[in-house]
Amino acid sequence: MGRVVMVTGVSRYLGGRFTQLLQADPDISRVIGVDVVPPKADLGDAEFVRADIRNPVIGKVIAQAEVDTVVHMAVLSTPLDAGGRATMKEINVIGTMQLLAACQKAPSVRKLVVKSSTAVYGSSPRDPAMFTEDLEPNALARSGYAKDSVEVEGYVRGFARRRPDVAVTTLRFANFVGPKVRTPLTQYFSLPVVPTVLGFDPRMQFVHERDGLEVLWRATLGDHGGTFNIAGDGVMLLSQAIRRAGRPSVPLPQPAAPWIGGVLKRLGVADFSPEQMRFLAYGRVVDTSRMRDVLGFEPRYSTREAFDDFVARQGLHGPLSADTVEAVERTVLDVVGRSPGAREVTRA
């Protein structure tokens, strides 16, 4: 009898991919996917349970299937996915509470993996250059995804105290990029003209979706308990990322930023929450040495490689893409090379 793994949030891209990945492992005999909406992707052999994790029915499923590993990936990052901030909060916070309550009652559960985010550290001008896992955020998130993540982690810590026999792994991911994944930030970089906050050039880190899946897989099968920051090596400046996406940027003064964000959100172009705005002004970088030393994971893609892969594979192309700029450079060099002065020199 192999392991029985339950994955929440399988109908979204990463959850679906992760479910596919788990089936390839011979140690795992059953994979149960849970979500409120049916998955768009083919889940292969996995069983799909259409259930709301806000509903106590989830406990029955865990008990019936004797689930031993729960991977919680159903924390939504944007209200657009849920149909409103109230629903999003409900799914994120109440859903996690229900799921953890069910896990606490189920003696079969031995392992819990939670997909969290580095958003729990917030973004502020008083932040240290790099956050380690045990540093407290300077400015506590007041709303949105960041606040939900903080609350989810709080409940997870409570669960870990009450069920010390369960190995709990919390993975705090930096922003995901990659060929397929869609997040508020990837939508932001896909805008034809990218708005930035005037006078700020924040540092960012990215995780490639493949690295993200691999580390989730590793955390699910291994038994390292604890909290880990997950990010690709190195950092990128926002200006640099926009340039690599070939996009022109338009700096907006900070007081106008929430207003512009509201307009863009209303238009459905991109989702800008107040935390997202703070992130775009102050950025955030985390220390990943615990990921390397304890989890033993080396990301294949550095922050920059991950971002370049995202740009190349999502076909982002703008007036400032590398090939256009290089073409202009070559033209100018040709003109200079053909200048009368240069010709005289070559004749001499």
Binding site: D201, M236, R243, R244, L320
Partner: protein, 423 residues
């Protein structure tokens, strides 16, 4: 929802698993060895096999080579060409103080020596990158092969900036931008205007971590920029000074961006220790706003040195503390008053009144041309105190006092020896 519906998707029974889907098949194709799959569980879909280095190299390297080739070709042609341009090259080379390989031709000349000709050239790529590409057409008449090489380098620089092909460290420090553009803009101030004299540079270690502690003055923190130039241009190790700044710096637009790019980070123990442990030279001005915004009447009187956090950071990292005394910065904008109400309204620590500001409007921003001396004192070793020394408040206070006294006495000595404020 009263009950959960279990909907098996794909092949419900085990034997049909193989036919389940191409993706899962791709994964099992990996050889079937569990150990191997364990190391690389990711599914190799056809598009996913693009290795990250390939993605990068296709974009950048060929053109980089092309530019190199173009520049070396023009260099070769300049070497074989008429005597006049070669003479010009020869005349210029001795004036290069820092023949470092990292510098491009565009900005390799010290801006301080020839401020008129070089500063605009090296300032152009970032301020108007697109304009920089338009200049060669106009400059084609200049007919200097040296020019071509410069243009190639300048274009390469502009391209790297435009395509974001630059490397910054975790703190956001951009050495190329700092050295070639931002510091190039203020080098004339260092060389010509304040005529900074850097003494005791041999006291700053050429490599490895060290904490530089200095007095702060001058209303606008020009003293930190001048110290940065002194160590980068005149220290034999050409060291980048990584500075620690107040949080106001990082909440102010533009200032925050420039501060991060020139290697400043937040003054907190976590950042200081991280930099020191990486073997960086870290600069701290522990007086903070109390020092920089003090009235002219209190010039050269050191204020309280914070809470000694810098000493505990140095103790934890086991690096020497280099006391640094800066004379001349106090006189650049003498503060004769402070508009406290306006400062409170703007959320600033002070709004100065100087003999020229705000009376002369923007002209009030011109500093007085005082003569500066930056003296680096003998390093104070911190590695002999053993473990737990950083948690001994008495030791930390004593060391803080020792550093403060050293700087204060050096300031008095330098002031005694100074002939005049301006010469």
């Amino acid at each position: 929802m009263p009950d959960a519906r279990v909907i098996p998707i794909g092949g419900g029974d085990r034997p049909s698993r193989r036919a389940a889907d191409a993706v899962a098949a791709g994964a099992s194709r990996a050889g079937g060895e569990r150990a191997r799959r364990r190391r690389s569980p990711l599914i190799d879909d056809s598009a996913g096999s693009v290795a990250p280095p390939t993605v990068q190299s296709t974009g950048d390297e060929p053109t980089g080579d092309a530019v190199e080739a173009a520049s070396s070709a023009s260099a070769a042609s300049s070497a074989s060409s008429a005597a006049a341009p070669t003479g010009a090259t020869a005349k210029r080379s001795p004036s290069r103080r820092r023949p470092r390989s990292g510098r491009g031709a565009a900005a390799s000349e010290p801006a301080g020596r020839q401020p008129d000709s070089t500063t605009p050239a090296s300032g152009e790529p970032t301020t108007r990158p697109v304009g920089a590409e338009a200049t060669p057409a106009a400059a084609a008449a200049a007919e200097l092969p040296e020019w071509e090489r410069k243009i190639a380098a300048l274009l390469a620089f502009a391209r790297r900036r435009l395509t974001g092909d630059v490397q910054v460290d975790e703190f956001g420090f951009d050495p190329e931008l700092t050295d070639k553009v931002l510091l190039a803009l203020v080098r004339p101030l260092y060389e010509r205007y304040f005529r900074v004299e850097a003494r005791g540079l041999e006291n700053v270690p050429a490599e490895g971590g060290a904490l530089l502690v200095a007095n702060h003055s001058g209303t606008i923190p020009l003293d930190s920029i001048m110290t940065q130039i002194a160590l980068l241009d005149h220290h034999p190790g050409h060291r980048h000074l990584r500075m620690l700044g107040a949080d106001l710096v990082f909440s102010t637009p533009i200032v925050s961006e420039l501060a991060r790019k020139t290697g400043t980070t937040l003054a907190c123990n976590a950042d200081a220790e991280r930099l020191l442990n990486r073997g960086e030279l870290v600069g701290v001005w522990p007086e903070g706003f109390k020092g920089i915004g003090k009235p002219f009447a209190e010039r050269y009187k050191l204020q309280r040195f914070g809470r000694g956090g810098f000493v505990s950071a140095a103790l934890r990292a086991g690096v020497p503390i280099v006391p640094c005394s800066i004379v001349g910065a106090e006189e650049i904008y003498p503060i004769i008053g402070n508009m406290k109400t306006l400062a409170r309204l703007l959320g600033l620590p002070y709004v100065p009144v100087t003999p020229t500001f705000p009376w002369l409007g923007p002209l009030g921003a011109i500093p007085l041309p005082s003569k500066w001396i930056i003296e680096f004192g003998e390093p104070i070793q911190t590695d002999g105190y053993g473990l737990g020394a950083a948690d001994d408040p008495m030791l930390v206070f004593n060391l803080t006092d020792q550093v403060r006294e050293t700087i204060q006495h050096t300031l008095y000595r330098l002031l005694m020896a100074r002939r005049s404020i301006f010469f």
